[in-house]
Amino acid sequence: MATFEQALLQLMDPIVILIIFGGVSAGLFVGAMPGLTATMALAVLLPFTFTMPALLGLVALGAVYMGAIYGGAFAAILVNTPGTPSSIATAFEGYPLAKQGRALEAISVATVASAIGGIAGVLFLLFLSPPLAKLSLRFGPAEYFWVAMLGVTLIATLSEGSLLKGLLGGAIGMMLGTMGVAPIGGETRFTFGMPVMQGGVEMIVALIGLFVLPELYNMAAQGRTSLGAVAVDSKAKAAFWHTVRVVLSKPGNLIRSCLIGEVVAIIPGAGGNIANLVAYNEAKRASRNPERFGTGVIEGLVASESSNNVTVAGSMVPLLTLGIPGAPPDAVILGVMLLHGLRPGIELFTTSGVLTYAFIISMGLAAIAMVPVGILGGRIIYRIIFRTPYYFLVPTIGLATILGTYALRNSSSDVLIMLILGTAGYLLKQVGIGAAPIVLGLILGTIAEVGYVQAMLGGAVYRFPVIRLFENSLSWILIAMVAFSAAWPLVSALLRRRRRRGEGAL
């Protein structure tokens, strides 16, 4: 307990508080820009932390990480463009809310949900690190394959109309993910004779193209932004305490989303990008009115934003206990830790306990700092977006997307790929194939391929290597979840029909 108290005392320093607020603000700006990711923000900050004491460096990185994941919600709500892959599902409900004139309310809800998610992640990290780390070690190739298959069942939720077209979108995304160098085998595939395709299709490039460009084309076609003509509601609904009451009014949704965020976070390689979609899917499934999702439902927004911020501290569980980065930004944090002579493992919680606990608690403080920073920053960004004429907004967002795409790998080819995918996304949307299943396929394709091929290699000793996919008890739990998730839309439709028939009989 003395260690914990000492850690708290270290955080009382005004410089620490200043760094937390500065880090959250910088992270929010980066996250709100499509294409600029949390990983990039941390990588840019990295050299500045070299000269800082270990605690200040780690606090700055944690605050920027927390702010960047949250900042993605702004672009998602105001321009229907997830600022980071962690806020894809935020756009599904946030943007319809903005179109109803409830953008400020949506931003406030996202802020409060993100702060609660961030704090929940820190609590999980503080109290559940050892058992969760053990669970993460049990995930082998077969389990990763089934996790990806579980993700595929989300397509039923993400399909805007026809399920079959959603599945086709998912398959297109998976095929896009196979372009370039094979993750196992190392050979180059599907470059169509173009050397620039050897690097493959970067997921964030596809995300920017598929989500941003169709929206810009829509604005150009209509001669206005979708938000330009809406009547804005009073600010009362965006008031802090009102929002807190709204978010806490569905505790089941909040708790479920935080748990999902934590479980996804501890699986190395899966982060906020998967957590927000899974949590959204489960919120829709648990809702009494799932058909209303996609029209501006607060529960969906809360599920997405709380789950993605849980993953910030949540992904530190395998990092701090086993040295396995749960998500790419964690790799940067691991680098800083090693630079200061901090080795992941039990020593981190004993010998360097004060520093480690101070770092963990600072992430909780960063989550709290998101509330004032987010509400103030949100209002400023909201005013800018609403007051800018569409003929300036379209090229300005275009500039941000081109810059963001280019800066990912300093590659002009990525910009061209983004433009081609975005234009294709606009055309595909016309025939009912939405962007979300394609991006989901791209995210899951690599996970599924690596899991599947590694499992087949591991099963080479058997006559039928595919047996390797069904060997472990954890695999069977995941298979049951896949079966349940795939069957649920049919079961719920059947139940609804029966309920309606019952009501008709009465």
Binding site: M175, Y391, L399
Partner: protein
């Protein structure tokens, strides 16, 4: 606008063409490990496309394509975006972006207002400052080597 189009048929044909493109570009000399997963995925994509294609004949989903707004503005905006990309490779990021943003703003504004030379000159100045702001952040603060061209 294309009214009452059979979107199932279009989506099915597109899926089949894409499957064929991927299938025929699988190199026969490529190793089993590299091709195992993509080959399975191409087959799955082709099967889904066939089902959607057949549904187009049996119980087609019909919709109006490009129903919202003016499709010509989409086409011109798209061309300007691609032109922006090619201009970057020739003129460099800064000059190309000032030109492209000014052109886009001018073209898109025509749907709602008339733009005098004086107003447009003011816009170009605003765009110049905007691009300079992003240019400095990325090139100086984030150390991203932005593409250079004819000028800088």
């Amino acid at each position: 606008m294309i009214k009452n189009a059979n979107s199932d048929l279009i989506a099915g044909v597109f899926g089949l063409l894409l499957s064929a493109a991927f299938w025929f570009s699988i190199d026969k000399e490529i190793g089993r490990l590299s091709v195992m997963f993509p080959r399975a995925m191409v087959i799955i994509m082709a099967l889904i496309s066939v089902i959607i294609f057949l549904r187009g004949f049996i119980k087609a989903e019909r919709s109006d394509l490009f129903a919202e707004g003016n499709p010509r503005r989409v086409l011109v905006t798209g061309l300007l975006f691609f032109g922006w990309y090619f201009a970057i490779t020739v003129l460099g990021f800064f000059v190309a972006s000032v030109l492209a943003i000014s052109s886009l703003a001018y073209y898109l504004s025509l749907s709602s207002r008339r733009v005098s030379v004086k107003v447009f000159s003011g816009w170009v100045l605003i765009v110049f400052c905007e691009v300079l702001f992003f240019y400095l952040i990325f090139s100086r603060l984030l150390h991203v080597p932005l593409p250079e061209g004819m000028f800088f």
